[in-house]
Subunit: 225 residues, 4 copies
């Protein structure tokens, strides 16, 4: 499955339910849903789990973060080349839990582009997402931090955040894919997000913490049709 | 002298030549040039020096930084209300030597607007300056860090950075004032900057470290006419 | 009043009750108590307020923070020389709301020493306070962040944190003064702190947010006797 | 080979010569030397490479960094549990290229201990290394940043840094292993380090950038005897 919209990106965060061998298991479920529905589902495991996940599945694998660095002396930092060789095809940048200086976001997007990694850059509101769009990433994702992990979907609780984002981003950049996230936990949340003219969702606990991730993810995928 | 373009903002940084009583002396020279030429010259002393400088001169005083905070428990951080009461009418934000996370730049601009402080937000290149412009500050200033302090003027050495910035910024925001900085050290550098359709310059060592700051600043001001 | 133990340091944080002209007013109350009781009370106003406070009172004034920098190009940062010239005699370092990298704490302490500024370095627990003590500041202050602003005094709610700190710090450094903070809101809290072999307290909301700061501070000072 | 002193830790940094498949190749050379000489040699590959390296070799594998977090919502951060499951037996903490706030170093050491990961915490000079020792990590490593990558060995160019570190650290902590690093590039550098009463070295470019890493590493190992 190549990257195409609509897209569902599942962020594994640092949940134990999606660490190590369990990361591989969850990615396999995502792959199953993707193959059954022909909807693009990408997974973003922890950095140390990229290699094993990318070996196990054919769906797109994203890093959760890259640093604005070139090869060299940056102990403990994340090199675009290294996540690429590990099997990632893209990366999150500036997630609300891993925010960067503005100039570092700019550099990270440019490095991702050089290494043919898809960049999905997060913003916490409409104006920040517009600023991100000016940097020409492949994907911009708006996620109000106060809704992350709540199960209260941004697409339903704060539709104005989503519509404002779409309006401001499209005023600057006609090509970037727009996702929304935070609290997405049902197929209806996904359907509403697409109706608001986004091209998909960024989801974490709604899938990873679900009792039956396969079933919920299948519901998400079906709701995009 | 109210804030108006063309504008010259003199950043005092942490130079001993512009600390404490010497900050007041330098601000008085800037005021003298401003009165003689009727050109708007603002000064950005260190935080602790704002009170004394703002008492001594009538030209606009900027803080070098504010933090994205409201009144409360943020020991050691810089509150918009506090710099306002100290006498500042504006603030630099995201100087290349004091960079912020993107969401914090957004918050700082909004706080400045709420408190009627003029925001001058810095970017290190054209794409970052465009992203800044999407956040609707009052002023955006482009300064390639590699030229800061060199005496090699961005307006002459890298005119494409300036023209790209003007083009990208104007595509997003028709109202924001655009400054350029880094290496500005002669009236000619200033004239070139204005010819490239900026509305002024952000200067530091070119004035503060000059043997005769008054004379150079007078040359700058005359060159804007 | 020179610096001597027991000492009460009042941190003004960014409270509006202690900003600008109100910072001066509160410092004057602290000075009144200090003169009446002959107990050392220091105040730590916001950076921009140091000049006005230091002009208005004779009690020791502390900065809330300094950066690990020498004079130069560090826009928006806080220079030891500048807070010294502004009238401060000391500085807080590494407050839990303004934490620093370990090597920067080390540098800040050394810079403070060079400029004859008293360094009061904060730690969030006993082991961190011990590490701080190894860097030989003048004062170490232990403040469990979870109690800050609660009105639940560390000296009464978590006496083991204080006694562990005293024991570990004294094992490393026999000279450093030891303060405790977080939740200190009555004379009894102060008395308990001294009984646990600290040399004073670091207090903020307990005084700044009090209806009658003078009366509470007088109670604190009397309790040290 | 279990962890034992003397120890040589090879930090792969983000060098392309030690990324991905080349990380595995270099780790295999280190294992070869370790088996031939019976000297403990550990490797610290990039985070994404830990899984593959740990599968390929039996020598100890270290992460280059862990974050002070528990399982949960910390996108892009490094979880102790995850590096452990990936096969690491230890971790660097606070490398000069990835410095942490003091309280975060304390937390990271405690998390490493809980997960039975060996912690090797870096300091940039003697006083910082002493502060680190107060936090009771398993290993403290002193590395003056100005010598890193120069080929000028700290043990020869700045022996006082090493002896001061040993003296200050031993005054606080009798159990911690002490390494030194920066510029180590010959067996003689290693021999001098041990003579100064360290228990080993932390090395990077001296091995990774060597034309023949096996030969140099063999020289290092032989020099420890």
């Amino acid at each position: 499955m190549k990257l195409q919209t609509p897209i569902i990106i599942v962020n594994f965060k640092n949940y134990l339910e999606a660490t190590g061998q369990k990361a591989v298991g969850l990615a396999e479920k995502a792959e199953k849903v993707s193959k059954e529905t022909n909807i693009c589902i990408a997974v973003a495991p922890q950095l140390v789990d990229i290699v094993a996940v990318a070996k196990a599945v054919e769906i797109p694998v994203f890093a959760q973060h890259i640093d604005p660095i070139k090869p060299g002396s940056f102990t403990g930092h994340v090199l675009a080349e290294a996540v690429k060789e590990a099997g990632a095809v893209g990366t999150l940048v500036n997630h609300s839990e891993r925010q960067l200086k503005l100039s570092d976001i700019d550099t990270a997007i440019k490095l991702a582009r050089e290494k043919s990694l898809v960049s999905c850059v997060c913003g916490n509101n409409a104006s920040v997402s517009a600023a991100v769009a000016a940097l020409k990433p492949d994907i911009v994702s708006v996620e109000p931090p106060e809704l992350i992990g709540t199960g209260i979907a941004v697409s339903k609780a704060q539709p104005a955040v989503v519509t404002d984002t779409v309006r401001l981003v499209r005023g600057i950049n006609g090509n970037v894919a727009i996702l929304c996230g935070a609290g997405i936990s049902s197929g209806e949340d996904v359907a509403v997000a697409l109706k608001l003219e986004t091209q998909g969702v960024l989801v974490a606990s709604g899938i990873v913490k679900a009792k039956d991730p396969y079933t919920i993810l299948r519901e998400f995928a079906d709701a995009t049709k």
